[in-house]
Amino acid sequence: MPTFVYASLCKGCGKCVDICPADNMQYNPKNRKGYNADPISCAECMNCVKYCPEHAVDVRPYSDFAPLGARVGVIRDTKKNIIYWRIVFRDGTVYDFASPIRTTPWGSAKGALDIPERSDLDSELLALEDKPEYLGFPELPRPKQTVRIVGSILKAKQKTGGG
């Protein structure tokens, strides 16, 4: 059972239910806690583990290939924008890792309407591509040289001797 919820830690906030991409995490109205209702559809993406504010969701890797004993801990810190991992091997070896997850504050990304309007609806240029630093070229590239080869490219190559 890839992820599961510790009964003593879950406060029933529903973050895991909200974030699960596979709709596996469900809310039990009787005990007001989350649970993994569909473990065979779980991809072990660990979003429920990462998003749980109480660290009540944990993962036990798939029993079909993973012997027991290994542990994986994760803290996704969206204030410092760092994700911390601890990997404990079955033989007790411990590794700690930390990676950045974002370089800008959450909520700061510009939406489409925050970018000045343009009128070239008929052109092939996309948003901001009127600026060369966005496009990467002085103008929108089109193939310098085109051919019209219908069918086998290998045969055409043999004829031209190109490669």
Binding site: M1, D18, I40, F89, L121, L126, L154
Partner: protein, 627 residues
């Protein structure tokens, strides 16, 4: 259980189905051009912040910047690479079109806050291989979802789109879609002038290699249910080259990708006897060129050939191939890079090593070809047939606005659009942007005065169809003594004379596809007998959807996901039955070789939305970039 769910009708101009990378790109770009003149609505089956294939995280933008800088690749180079990798089956106009817009996409990602690795000396984005930029991508999707949500006029989450709606006064014209909310059961009818399908490709169509507890585990996320093809197919749109499928070589059981070890850490893999297979030695290329012609000499070696080598090694008792990780992990730093790569995108790979005490700096790791997937954004040319960009596409490839499928007003992006593989996450976002602008232009000009015609009868009929599995379950449940499961749980092994639950339908689909349509259980081999028989079995499975039962809204979601997968399976088998050669990640034993003379063509299948009849045609592949 009350089945009287409310109906909600949503009117919009542009509807984007699926909020993954392609959908987010489509929303952002469509809104940029629409401004206040048209309304852009997003419908997504999960939470956009962590939905789609990138919801797990990712460790690279596998398609990076193309600029005038001599160090950077040019769109032409990319077309040649993709053309070789897909054994010639490529729409060069579509591939070129994505490459020429990549720089602005990567720059937007950078501005939004995606941590892209940079060369400390030059300040330029680092590359692994020719095309990829490594990233710290745990929050990749969450970062992309933010501007998408800000751009959309409306976002509907946890709504699963089941069927397209065709216009009742105009033939072959999309008018909207229907779906349901998996939390409260509300029936949704979206009416739109243009629909951009940006849903996901197909995992779990074939029997996965995992068993028991890990049963559903696959390399491509379990939630990718093939809606990318099912929704357009139900609308009568044409597919392209669906038989090619995708089989990738991954770390055994954990399905961890191998690109990073090969490209960044320069690892090699061997068979168990120690013979090197990756990078592929010249003598092996010479041998393989008897089967794959010049494609065997292409640099890098095409993915289908690399996969073929691993399959062959397994078949002939030299497998599994082993990634010789210990040769390229000289210090703590390199080990850290390797682990962090997987923790960002496939945490299971780290579990796998930890649980079996495999220390990559000491021990090699086994590699294994996966079960087949159907998706258009990775190394395969399957997908839907889409119109090309008017300034570079051959005239045969232009019948409507850029990225419009063969149904008027229905657009595609990402895993939807076929014959243009290797877009991955960043390329899918870019294709979403292309489709977004194209749809905005279409809505503001050509389709300005269009009003969808959908009758109330149709809406009621679809509502009945969508909720039937739920009704069927509750009607038939009391017939046997098997107790009801707690809410949401599936009773996987409930034996009932009148119904099949989603799990039973899924397993039957997977068994049929595996054994008849070249799954791993048959070493990716099939023949005409198997395909014809498989086709019959899929027909019967489709008929049995009359007996589909769902105990909860969650199970109702699963039933419709399996139905979408079934449609994809039918398109794959029908394409395979008609292509009389072997090209792709499978062997048709009746036609075991590439036939450049007769079969350097695209295959197209279409399902008639009125009759449900399938039809097939081929079209020539037209190359526009010199060889």
């Amino acid at each position: 259980m009350s089945l009287h769910f409310p109906t909600k009708i949503v009117d919009t101009d542009i509807l984007v189905v699926g909020g993954g990378m392609a959908g987010c790109g489509a929303v952002f770009e469509a809104k940029y051009w629409c401004r206040s003149k048209c309304k852009v609505t997003l419908v997504e089956k999960a939470n956009t912040e962590k939905s789609g294939a990138v919801g797990m995280g990712l460790s690279a933008c596998n398609l990076g910047v193309f600029t005038t800088d001599p160090d950077d690749p040019k769109p032409e180079d990319f077309v040649q690479y993709v053309r070789n990798d897909l054994l010639g089956m490529v729409r060069e106009d579509l591939v070129y079109d994505i490459a020429r817009h990549m720089t602005s996409t990567i720059k937007l990602f950078d501005e939004w806050g995606l941590p892209i690795w940079r060369d400390p000396k030059t300040g330029k984005y680092l590359r692994t291989g020719r095309w990829q930029h490594p990233i710290h991508g745990e929050s990749y999707k969450a970062i992309i979802a933010e501007p998408c949500r800000k751009s959309a006029d409306e976002v509907y989450e946890r709504v699963y789109v089941t069927h397209p709606l065709l216009d009742e006064s105009r033939p072959n014209r999309i008018a909207g879609v229907v779906g349901f909310n998996v939390r409260d059961g509300t029936f949704y009818v979206f009416r739109a002038k243009a629909v951009i399908v940006a849903a996901g490709g197909t995992s779990l169509l074939y029997r996965p290699r995992s068993v028991g507890e890990g049963l559903g585990r696959a390399w491509y996320p379990t939630w990718a249910s093939g809606s990318a093809y099912a929704i357009p197919l139900l609308a009568g749109a044409e597919t392209v080259t669906m038989e090619f499928r995708l089989v990738v070589v991954r770390f055994k059981d954990a399905y961890g990708p191998v690109g990073f070890p090969y490209l960044l850490l320069k690892m090699r893999s061997t068979d168990v006897k120690g013979k090197q297979w990756e990078p592929l030695p010249d003598e092996a290329k010479a041998e393989l060129s008897k089967i794959f012609y010049d494609f065997a000499w292409a640099k890098p070696t095409p993915t289908p050939i690399r996969t073929w080598v691993t399959i062959q090694n397994l078949k002939e008792g030299r497998g599994p191939d082993l990634m010789q990780t210990q040769e390229r992990l000289p210090d703590e730093e390199s080990l850290k890079v390797l682990f962090e790569d997987y923790l960002d995108m496939t945490p299971t790979q780290a579990f796998y090593w930890a649980s079996q005490n495999i220390h990559p700096q000491k021990t090699p790791s086994e590699l294994m070809p996966t079960e087949p997937y159907v998706q258009a954004s990775h190394a395969s040319p399957g997908g839907m047939w889409a119109s090309g960009p008017s300034d570079i596409a051959p005239k045969e490839y232009i019948w409507g606005p850029n990225r419009m499928l063969t149904v008027e007003g229905l657009f595609g992006a990402g895993d939807v659009v076929g014959a243009s593989g290797h877009k991955f996450s960043s390329g899918s976002f870019t294709e979403g942007r292309i489709a977004g602008k194209s749809a905005a232009r279409y809505v503001l000009t050509q389709a300005k005065d269009y009003k969808p015609t959908i009758s109330n009868d149709t809406i009621e009929r679809y509502k009945e169809i969508v909720y039937r599995p739920l009704e069927w379950y509750h009607k038939n449940k009391p017939l046997t003594t098997t107790p009801e499961m707690p809410p949401q749980y599936t009773n996987w092994f409930e034996i009932h004379p009148n119904y099949l639950n989603w799990y039973q339908l899924l397993v039957r689909l997977q068994k049929t596809m595996d054994e008849y349509a070249a799954g791993w259980g048959m070493f990716y081999t099939t023949n005409m007998y198997l395909l014809n028989r498989g086709w019959e079995l899929l027909k019967m499975l489709e008929e049995d959807f009359r007996f589909a039962a769902a105990a909860s809204l969650h199970e109702l979601l699963r039933v419709w996901e399996v139905y979408h997968r079934l449609l994809v399976g039918q398109a794959v088998v029908f394409s395979m039955m008609n292509r009389k050669e072997s090209r792709g990640y499978y062997l048709n034993a009746d036609y075991p070789y590439i036939d450049e003379e007769n079969w350097h063509v695209f295959t197209h299948v279409r399902r008639d939305p009125k009759t449900g009849q399938w039809s097939f045609r081929t079209s020539p592949v037209i190359h526009i970039i010199p060889p």
